[in-house]
Subunit: 571 residues, 2 copies
């Protein structure tokens, strides 16, 4: 994707698609033919940070290009498999090992590391491709009768071991093949009803082309663009309470959902489409976040938006992190409307971005330094506004005013454009660099403004405890009362156990910091051990009571999800 040749030595990045049916073909992010390598400035930064030389980039680590050749018998009997085929059709059940491994893991770093090393754990017993809600009801009845555990896979972009099949016998329902249809479009209410296996880009294309597809008067958008957008599905957005990068304006998945249908062991739950109501506890909000432990999401109605013809970009350099945070908070409490993307990088991330976008080596860098915006102090704020043009204009005008109050310098829209170009393709770089044993991973949490600086300091300290760790942080997904704090860490290791332990220390630091354990990644099985410490025993007991109500036999995504039962690995 980045094509400018290096001036000096350049490693032999893997630019070819993964070997067919290899571990790499499963683990690699996105389009098999696409890859992304760091720009030369970033490569040099990495070498410097980790005390490496070009020689270290001549030997590859595990790249996982071996063909998957395993024999793992299914725990389901032939009779059971025949029953499943009777429900969904012969072509929609498979026990083929490669296909099972394809949906066995998500995109958690632990998953990637296991696949690179050819470690097969928790292989699902069968992959099933249902088509209809009726299929789902029959599958749940089958599961109850046969005590077969149910896992659900859609985009597979979980970073929490959310879909991993811990308990046997089981089946995993892959929604991408048949459970991905548009059920209804409602122009008057501005909603679309879909099956949860529809992917982000498919949904967005259908909405962008609403005039052609539905005779609608306007082009529309779903407003939800997580970094995993290209390979995530609506179902995952909803059941984990995800957020897109534009959530400051459009809201998180939980805001976008108008109503839903779930198939649970105690029956089908279908909420109504009233825009708001005072009819007891909010049942949509009970189901969202249940991460497959109460039942299977089978239908969701999303609020959609008019597609903005253009969006207004801005970026500012602040002298310090404190100035940037104060400005950001003032914007969010300014009541002039919210920008769509709104993101403040800390000093380390700012320096990194200066390298990624080629600014570190440009005359602009000298100008910034001359004006007192010093490396390892200065912080970059970027974003853009969506919505009607007058709203956008008013937002960027007020942001400019506030930025100047805090002594920021405008960098025009250039930086924002660079960020936009990389927003969905940056994950590709993670694979390329990891081929040389360098890991990029992320963790995030939700924080109030009055605790933001402290959480940043506390968690960063733990991340930095790994020798030579790079830790870049940004604030994004903002609210008047706080925001998401997002940590990206880069370390050099291929040691799975050491990594797991390190990862846990960061989660523990988040838990202890007073931040919420996750703003939008969810909990899954990996974060669950820290959930009781985060929300407390009383809330855990309530979640367990709900679990017991919906799923008394413990059939739905069992093995530690949300800490509602135990799995051998984490407990």
């Amino acid at each position: 994707m980045s094509t400018k040749p290096y001036k000096d030595f350049e490693p032999q990045w893997i630019t070819t698609p993964p070997v067919e049916k290899s571990y790499r073909s499963i683990m690699k992010w996105g389009d098999p033919a696409a890859y992304k390598r760091p720009k030369e400035g970033l490569y040099k930064l990495i070498k410097k940070q980790f005390n490496l030389t070009d020689d270290d980039f001549k030997q590859m680590a595990d790249v996982g290009n071996e063909v998957v050749d395993i024999k793992v018998p299914s725990h389901l009997s032939d009779k059971q498999l025949a029953e499943l085929k009777a429900i969904v059709g012969d072509d929609n059940v498979t026990t083929d090992e490669f296909k099972r491994l394809q949906v066995g893991y998500g995109k958690t770093m632990i998953d990637i590391m296991r696949l690179r090393k050819g470690i097969v754990e928790n292989l699902p017993d069968a992959v099933v491709y249902p088509s209809t809600t009726e299929d789902m009801e029959k599958l749940v009845e089958f599961a109850k009768k046969n005590k077969v555990h149910i896992y659900v896979y859609a985009g597979g972009s979980s970073v929490t071991r959310g879909t991993e099949c811990m308990i046997v016998p089981n089946m995993i329902l892959d929604l991408r093949k048949n459970f991905n249809k548009v059920i209804a479009f409602n122009e008057v209410n501005q909603t679309i009803t879909v099956q949860p296996g529809i992917s982000g880009p498919d949904l967005e294309k259908i909405l962008n082309e609403a005039p052609e597809n539905f005779g609608a008067a306007h082009r529309l958008t779903c407003g939800h663009f997580p970094q995993s957008f290209e390979y995530s599905c609506v179902g995952g957005w909803v059941v984990t309470r995800g957020s897109g990068q534009n959530s400051t304006y459009y809201g998180c998945a939980a805001d976008l959902v108008l109503c839903q249908e779930y198939v649970t062991p105690v029956g089908r739950i279908r909420t109504d489409s009233a825009p708001r109501k005072a009819t007891g506890p909010n049942i949509d909000q009970i189901m969202m976040g249940s991460e497959g432990t109460f039942g299977i999401l089978t239908e969701v109605t999303l609020k959609v938006f008019k597609l903005s013809a253009k969006h207004r970009k801005f970026s500012y350099m602040f002298p310090t992190w404190e100035d940037g945070m104060a400005a950001m908070r003032e914007v969010m409490q300014g009541e002039f409307g919210y920008p769509s993307v709104f993101r403040l990088s800390d000093a380390e991330e700012t320096d990194m971005m200066m390298h990624m976008y080629g600014i570190a080596d440009s005359p602009l860098n000298a100008l910034l330094s001359a004006k007192g915006f010093k490396p390892s102090k200065r912080c970059l704020l970027l974003g853009f506004a969506d919505g009607e043009d007058g709203l956008q204009r008013n937002i960027v005008k007020n942001i400019r005013k506030i930025a100047h109050k805090y002594n920021a310098m405008s960098l025009t829209g250039y930086v924002t454009t660079s960020w936009e170009h990389g927003r969905f393709s940056d994950p590709y770089m993670r694979d390329t660099i990891q081929d040389y044993g360098i890991i990029i991973d992320t963790l995030e949490c939700a924080v109030n403004w009055d605790n933001m600086a402290q959480v940043h300091e506390d968690v960063r300290k733990v991340v930095k405890a790994w020798p030579n760790a790079i830790c870049t942080t940004h604030i994004s997904h903002c609210y008047p009362q706080g925001a998401n704090l997002y940590f990206i860490f880069v370390i050099k290791t291929t040691d799975l156990d050491a990594f797991k332990k390190y990862h846990s220390t960061i989660l523990e630091a988040i838990m202890k910091s007073g931040a919420a354990l996750s703003h939008h990644h969810g909990i899954g099985k990996l974060f669950a051990p820290f959930l009781p410490g985060s929300i407390g025993e009383e809330q855990m007991n309530l979640l367990k009571a709900l679990k017991h109500y919906f799923d008394p036999d413990g059939l739905m995504n069992p093995g530690g999800t949300l800490g509602l039962d135990k799995h051998p690995d984490n407990f």
Copy 2:
């Protein structure tokens, strides 16, 4: 309050405060010394509608000015009362009949009718005034040990028999005396933490005076102004999921709540203040709407807003209901920001308002008719914008554009100002008119745009089935996907049973129409029989499972609330 003398005969309205310790002193809305009578035009309209003459306004109906003189023994033993006094102090427990009746009913029309007739039902056994969360924990322990049922009273403005003490033995916790304190103010996060017995005006005054009270940089507002504002409390807003008249901009109570604490029979639940999270089902959203059936709200942290220096008003006359609705929807889907108050009256309400605001008799009326805005067709849209000035300007500009597109005529801000003057005092008129046997009551529901016209037609038909009923309707509390539809009905009766039956037919019509049973009044005991028909058996079972978890002995607000158990009257 309205002082312009009638030209012709004027009834002898009761303008004096209720007799001390009378039924009327309990039932009368608001300030004892204040009253509101209809303007002459409205009085004439009422006479015409109900085929009445001035003679009908010479004989009063039941006005309830008799002194309460009843003997109703408490079901609590002296030992139990002593235990209660040991918890909250001697002065904070009473079995005095008048004080018990004062908190025995809410402001449901059925309550008013009973008090006018001196009908005492379901008198609480004792009134208790707790001060702290620790008091609450001890009271709940006492209740568990003694099998005493707990009811909670704060503002007492329920219109759903929400707080009525159906099951004995019981105690009612009146929060207004001691449980009304500010616990914390956080300027950085822009939040205030209060006990739920604080009243709307007390909270608003404290926030308006934030610079004086807390040294804050800005004057603030809670943004929540239900019609009952002056006599409602924060606790009621939250546990019933109320909405203020400005909710289109500020959000409903459920949006304003950042976190909460409840004391329940299974312990204290305290949520954290993260602005948003992906850590499982949303527990705040389980507790809000539980209407006292899971536990007692003891603390709530509210998001607050900068007080707008001014707000921009608008009002438009539309040729038809359909035009007004189309414009309203276009505004809500226009993505230029939301107005704060936003309200479209149907033709009957518009005609009524023309009388109330004295426009029916003014030259403006002639001009409107000449321009084709015909009575019984034309519909009035009014509102104002809050927030930063640029946002306000952009909103009213876009509303003007859309109004003109749908052939509306601007009426300037005059009508909106008239509405504002009456927004909190109109409930006073209900008492004045009822002294002559004419009832004003309201019901409301939440509706999607594509079903709005149909629900309006269906429900209106049932309201109109009462002979000569006046039925005025408006749309308010708007969203991109729909809005609240609010019915005000005026009928002539003093027959309690006939009224109950009539009220039920309207609730049934709402239930059958596809609207949600309530947008912001809540469910209580009065609406509960229709909840299963509205949300379905599966959702009712889930609510019952939650009830069973929190309150296995059925001690918390029992007797039909939310349909979680039965009360003799309704089932």
